[in-house]
Subunit: 102 residues, 3 copies
């Protein structure tokens, strides 16, 4: 099952997390503040952001990517997929139900 | 080598981390506070929790899962395995020794 | 593409992040404070550290490992590679450019 790693501006991370769950693109979003260091147009920059660990399913992943590209405020958002090699069975079922249920 | 990602109530995370190391199911546990957004019984909820990154070995992983299922306070704990594709050799050795030594 | 997970002393993490970006070994470093619990010489210890998520490329990974081994203050640093199974295309390109550009 995939976990998507996404970074977002600190003041928009709550809203992004909530929309992903509301739209049934994620069963759960865990988030935490981060400091980012990166190069942009030749200069090294530092920013305060929030990282989101988005717990989703194989079936929902493509729609999640489309949705994030549409709503994310950055031109070049950090969105990365990490695949779990094992997940506790009850948590697998809960994720699938949370996302598919209407 | 596996890293297990586990979430826990903020006031029990320290004790869980300590027990995993004491029981030699983990060489090291890194943890940090998170905000979780998820759907439960139809409603979107927010919770303050702690995420644990549990550094273990292939051999200890199955026992780690059993132990977490036994002691974890949630009915449906988040327990996910992520496999590292490379680890610094000295850290591989230290993890194996920390877990197997008596 | 690889994300390297590295832990460091809290008062050296900023400098390590900055050097990795300056040396073009990473396009971006996200970092956050962690509490670590581990066994060292038979005793269970707790430490406040910082975790770094280092966004790099396949080509730069080996040099990143060499550099971290050289500058890291620990005898046995935690350095682990996690491979992403998908990354947003624009972010792939930005990472590659940030690291290779002169």
């Amino acid at each position: 099952m995939p976990t998507a790693y996404i970074t977002a501006p600190a003041d928009e991370a709550d809203a992004i997390a909530e929309r992903l769950v509301e739209e049934r693109l994620a069963a759960c979003v865990n988030r935490f503040p981060i400091t980012s260091t990166y190069r942009w147009e030749g200069e090294v920059h530092h920013d305060e952001e929030v990282a989101l660990l988005v717990k989703t399913t194989d079936d929902a992943y493509a729609d999640l990517v489309d949705f994030v590209e549409e709503i994310h405020p950055y031109d070049v958002p950090c969105l990365e997929r990490f695949d779990e090699s094992h997940v506790l069975e009850s948590f697998v079922e809960w994720r699938a139900e949370s996302i598919s249920a209407e």
